[in-house]
Amino acid sequence: MEDFIIIIFIISLIYLAKAEMIRSYVGLLAFQGLLLFFTAYYKLQEIDVVHLSFILIETLIFKALFVPVFFLRIIKSKNHRNNTGPVKGYYSVLISSIIIAISFMVAHNMHDEHLQVKYFTAAIASIFVGLFIAINHKDILTHLTSYLVIENGIFLLSLALGSEMPMFVNAAILLDIFTSVLIMGIFFNRLKDYFQNTEIGTLSNLKD
């Protein structure tokens, strides 16, 4: 079951890289949140109930519900249509697939008995696909999406280290909550008021 969830998570990364509609990001982020909830449930059963509950609630409520609902609210108030960067369509699929393949090769060659190859592959792939999305797009919402994908990668990386580090899994979650809420809740709303469209290209007042 764990393997199946991780494979689905990796496939969702390819979809994220290819997605061109902001609405698709919302669905995929919610779906990834759900997958991380099940992954954490299977992976962290040995840790104490308080830590496990905190992690499960965070993945389900924050990742799978709060973030997508917040995104949907923004989309409702803005007219978000196609969102394309210089690398489009199946070229994005190709690049994300190459990232995943390289991540797998790196993880496979680690030769570390404590390292869980599947988690490590998904984590590294998620971080780099997130960076690829950030570089490839100019929309602020897409940049937020890329940040959340990187965060999901960090969360999986903490799971890759096994269940002996609940404190660090919790820390990864706090990173999620604090920064995401601050970025999204406060500044995005302000940015939206100041700048009429959400293209990052319009944020270019600061120059040498």
């Binding site: 570390d112 965060e151 960090i154 820390a171 990864a172 601050l182 500044f187």
Partner: protein
């Protein structure tokens, strides 16, 4: 004690955010600085001790704590005039003062953390505190800078977190997960070097945004430009020091392993690249705040280069950070007055400053002489030691390149700053009453302190720095 201090920080920051009387809001900040100074004294009396596994008091933390107290106090004093002259609304002042408390508390946590996880959490907290301060002016520029700073810092800190996770992976091989500096340092030589290298690479990359180094330096420059000048002063001095301490903790923990030469090479590359970018931008920039920001990047690069050389370079790096903090914060503070007088940050709109505001002009002149490391500036001593460290390591060819890049930056600084001081430019409306003598006196005192240290090298400073670096390999 430090746990109580951190709880007070959160309570006081939250309380200050809701105070609607500006004077009371300022008093709360100064009240907090009394606590801060008290903590400094307490930590100095308990040097070498650890507190509840997560905090420690050591000379490295104490040195930068002293700098933090001086700069934060000066910054808060300057904010009083800033708020008055700009007619800042009580709610905005309250948020700024709350941000100041939170930001200072977070940096204190970075300096005294004894655990990599706790260190990381405090570095993350500085991002939130700094974002509140950068956003103060609430215009297009500040909003853009805050957004970029928050976004890139978050990615940087997430990358550093991945680095710390690699530490966990490395130590799992030995069946122990101890993230305290001392605990990790004890087992570090037995761990797989590949994981340690990966960790160091990610941590330096992630924390580069705090120290203002390559690769994540861009948002730091924007933040120093868009934030009020006294905030720019803090970002250029105490936050840079905190970023250095964060990198230093990892370096020190790994210094007993086989990756030491690799770490030094990596730091050397990072430092030279930072210096190169600073030199390129210093020549073309017209905005005086950005010019000072690139100068800070230059000095961050020099510090990292000196540190990578080891030996006398360790001493030079710490001394350089102290001297740079005092000088650069004075220059940033003075920009605030300059802006009040000329209503511009661009050098073409600022001229004859020495004539229009003689004391302020003297600050810029002495600050310029100090920042370019002319004797008797303390920066001259530290830069001389850096060159010595490079030559000791047989890196004389690199010393030549570095001196060349520094000369380019000095040229960039000289053409703008001497022009501001002495050349009569077709200015618009000049508001001479924008000058404030007592502010310039504080700035002069900070710069004269740099000259005093450069001339006399007080034994207490030399001894404290030597004690701070004694755990590093010779």
């Amino acid at each position: 004690m430090i746990e109580i201090f951190l709880v007070i920080t959160i309570i006081l920051a939250a309380g200050t955010a809701f105070v609607r009387n500006i004077n009371i809001s300022h008093i709360m900040v100064f009240g907090y600085f009394i606590f801060l100074a008290g903590l400094g004294v307490y930590m100095a009396e308990h040097v070498g001790e650890t507190f509840s596994e997560y905090f420690l008091s050591d000379y490295m933390g104490l040195i930068f704590m002293a700098v933090l107290i001086v700069i934060s106090f000066s910054s808060a004093l300057h904010y009083i005039t800033f708020a008055k002259k700009r007619e800042v609304r009580p709610a905005e002042a309250a948020l700024h003062n709350a941000g100041t408390i939170f930001f200072t508390g977070a940096m204190t946590g970075v300096l005294f953390a004894a655990h990599f996880g706790v260190l990381w959490a405090f570095v993350e907290a500085t991002t939130i505190g700094a974002s509140i301060l950068i956003y103060h002016n609430r215009n297009h520029e500040s909003l853009e800078a805050t957004w970029k700073y928050l976004f890139v810092c978050s990615i940087g800190v997430a990358i550093a977190f991945a680095g710390i996770l690699f530490l966990g992976l490395a130590s799992q091989e030995k069946g122990s997960i101890d993230f305290t500096y001392a605990g990790f340092k004890a087992i570090a030589p037995t761990l797989y070097p590949g994981w340690l290298k990966a960790c160091f690479l990610l941590v330096v990359t992630g924390f580069s945004v705090k120290m203002g180094l390559v690769p994540l330096f861009n948002v730091d420059i924007d933040a120093k430009d868009a934030a009020p000048s006294q905030v720019g002063a803090s970002l250029s001095s105490v936050l840079m020091n905190a970023g250095f301490v964060a990198i230093y903790r990892f370096y020190e923990a790994f210094s007993g392993t086989s990756i030491l030469p690799w770490m030094n090479t990596f730091l050397l590359i990072t430092g030279v690249a930072s210096l190169f970018f600073a030199a390129v931008y210093a020549l073309r920039v017209r905005n005086i705040k950005r010019l000072f920001a690139y100068s800070s990047m230059e000095h961050a690069g020099l510090v990292i280069i000196a540190f990578a050389c080891g030996g006398i370079g360790y001493f030079a790096a710490i001394l350089h950070l102290i001297m740079h903090s005092l000088t650069k914060s004075s220059l940033f503070f003075q920009v605030s007055q300059m802006h009040r007088i000329y209503n511009t940050k661009l050098d073409e709109g600022i001229g004859s400053y020495l004539k229009i505001n003689p004391i302020g002009g003297l600050v810029i002149l002495l600050g310029f002489l100090s920042i370019i490391a002319l004797p008797p500036s303390g920066l001259f001593i530290s830069e001389l030691m850096m060159v010595q460290a490079l030559i000791t390591n047989n890196l004389w060819w690199l010393a030549v390149i570095i001196i060349g890049l520094v000369l380019v930056i000095i040229y960039g600084l000289a053409t703008r700053m001497l022009g501001i001081l002495f050349i009569n430019k077709p200015n618009g409306n000049i508001y001479e009453k924008g000058a404030t003598v007592w502010e310039s006196v504080i700035q002069l005192a900070l710069i004269l302190l740099v000259f005093y240290i450069g001339l006399l090298r007080p034994q207490v400073i030399v001894d404290t720095i030597n004690l701070a670096i004694k755990t590093l390999p010779i």
